[in-house]
């Protein structure tokens, strides 16, 4: 592989995961803080809140995973490697 392509692929892969985790991190923190507020205000709704929270956390997690998929493609199945 061309060293320039290799170097920039590795660099891009790390940026892909790093940048893709910023937004979901903020979002998950926000969602978790609101869930805690909700539970504190209404402890009897804890089960329902927890279920919804986990489901929405997994949705936000998926955004980071998209970045990870891009990174994995760059590292293991690089289309520019030829």
């Amino acid at each position: 592989m061309d060293p320039l392509v290799a170097a920039s692929s590795v660099f891009a892969a790390s940026l892909a995961v790093g940048l893709a985790s910023i937004g979901p991190g903020l979002g998950q923190g926000n969602a978790a803080s609101r869930a805690v507020e909700g539970i504190a205000r209404q402890p009897e709704a804890e089960g329902k809140i927890r279920g919804t929270l986990l489901l929405s956390l997994a949705f936000m997690e998926a955004l980071t995973i998209y970045g990870l998929v891009v990174a994995l493609v760059l590292l293991f199945a690089n289309p520019f490697a030829a």
Partner: protein, 249 residues
């Protein structure tokens, strides 16, 4: 690319496959083998559970009834009481297949089985499996929409404003894309994280990560089937009129 750890119980292999030649098609043999095992586990356990049905269930039958009720709950929440029954088998097959393949991929020490190339792993960590499942969901919700509303199904594309038409069309493509990549990425990420940890420290330390992996793969199965059910339910309901009738009736 391949990284091998000390006891040879874990190796990280991405992009290596055990190819089978079928006609002029190349298929990933390791995915098919584990899929068949998953299907076998599901078929045998449901046959055993329903072989000698009791009115007061116990043991395996009890467990399978709990699983069925759980799946019915998913379908009922998303599709609605009126139509959910006919979609329980589809949603349930998706949930059970994904769940069992995720857990078998994580719990069974597949590395003990030697393959000429590649290694056995959860079928859902191969992008072809997840894309196939996601396309099945697409077909299912189009079928549900047509069956329920006929050509009126297409009115959703121009509801509100015709300028939104491209967005609705794009949505039909992004749904299977996000479904398949979410599942594939999560399962592959789990396996890679566990693999890297085992590579660094072979004992004890990877355990919490493995348990987290089991948890997230169960959640991914739940999410996939919930979303499939909600797409189907969304395709079946009109833009409001029938729902209003239901409320008044």
């Amino acid at each position: 690319m391949m990284l091998v750890s000390f006891p040879m119980l874990a190796a990280l292999e991405v992009g290596k496959h055990f190819y089978w030649q079928l006609g002029n098609l190349e298929v990933h043999g390791q995915v098919l083998i584990v899929s068949w095992i998953v299907i076998g586990v599901l078929v045998i356990s449901s046959a055993l559970a329903s072989r000698n049905l009791q009115t007061v269930p116990s043991g395996l039958q009890n467990f399978m009834e709990y699983a069925l009720e759980f799946i019915q709950g998913i379908a009922k929440d998303q599709i609605g009481v009126k139509h959910y029954r006919e979609w329980v088998p589809f949603v349930g097959s998706l949930f059970l297949f994904i769940f069992v393949s995720n857990w078998l991929g994580a719990l069974v020490p597949w590395k003990l089985v030697k393959l000429p190339e590649g290694e056995l792993a959860a079928p859902t960590s191969d992008v072809n499996t997840t894309i196939a499942l996601a396309l099945l969901v697409s077909l299912a919700y189009f079928y549900a929409g047509f069956k329920e509303r006929g050509l009126g199904y297409f009115s959703k594309y121009v509801q509100g404003s015709p300028f939104l038409l491209p967005l609705w069309v794009i949505e039909d493509f992004t749904k299977p894309l996000s479904l398949s990549f979410r599942l594939f990425g999560n399962i592959l990420a789990d396996e890679l994280v566990v693999g890297v940890f085992v590579l660094l420290v072979p004992l004890v330390i990877p355990l919490p990560v493995m348990i987290l992996g089991l948890f997230t793969s169960a959640i991914q199965a739940l999410i996939f089937s919930t979303l499939a059910a909600s797409y189907i339910g969304e395709a079946m309901e009109g833009h409001g009129e029938e729902a209003h009738d239901d409320h008044h009736a």
